[in-house]
Amino acid sequence: MKGLLKGLVVTLRTMTRRSVTRQYPETRPDLPPRSRGVIGLLAENCTSCMLCARECPDWCIYIESHKETLPAVVEGGRERSRNVLDRFAIDFSLCMYCGICIEACPFDALFWSPEFEYAEHSIGALTHEMDLLGEWMKTVPPPPAIEPGEPT
């Protein structure tokens, strides 16, 4: 009896409330901070160290690069070699949005973006290459301000 009344109270309370319908896509959703929509790549920070691709539990990051030799800066100095990124792709049909790649990146080249509208008709189109991943960087929100009292 007590349980029955409890249930009826919930019904009555809901009955008098207005229903909440989000008018997506006419109105944009109000996403919480740190929403995980898509991953953006800041290619100039990437050193092709392969850490993200190796940490990825879903094996969905593909990186190809080549070595380039830079001439010595000062006379008699040593030649420097560096890696040049040729391909960086994330297959979002496999990605599980764990964010381990972003955590693993020691050079801050990967970022979360709240952008989520990138559905495709073919599964292959979900593999985002470097240019598209770079485009997502425009949608990455600025980092949140450090709270007062936090160690810096």
């Binding site: 050193t47 392969m50 691709a53 190796r54 990825c56 094996w59 190809e64 080549h66 391909r87």
Partner: protein, 161 residues
Amino acid sequence: MNETQDVEPAEWIAALTAARDARHCDFFDFLTAVDELEDGIRIVAHVYSTSTRQHLLIRTLLPPDALVLPTATTVYKGANWHERETCEMFGVQFDGHPNLIPLLLPDGFEGTPLRKDFVLASRVAKQWPGEVDPGQSLTELKKPKRRRNLPPGVPEDWTRP
């Protein structure tokens, strides 16, 4: 609040009945298994008491040559699907189960996918993207190498030579 109870397979039903009746564990949460390799398969059941708010984990270790256990559906009716799943995923038989047919796997599927010796086709068929070294392209991987980068967590005998 949380307690773990290890019992012999022969005491399995008695332990579950005692949990339900003597310890008032009226809520059956789940039943599953853990592959303990050469030690056999451990069956785990989690029950909870909504009155005393006590959690109880009951476990039993089945030797690899006798993966049979009497069904827990006689004690907790809700164990039905859990046992069907444990049967198809680990190959454990539940004697007296009313309907021990596969629950999740497609028709005609062979093998026990949650056993540790089950080879994951997707990990064998696909090349590990992390095998490429910095400054390398995928085509360079075709050349013979002194040392091969191996994916962590994947048994070495899965990957083809």
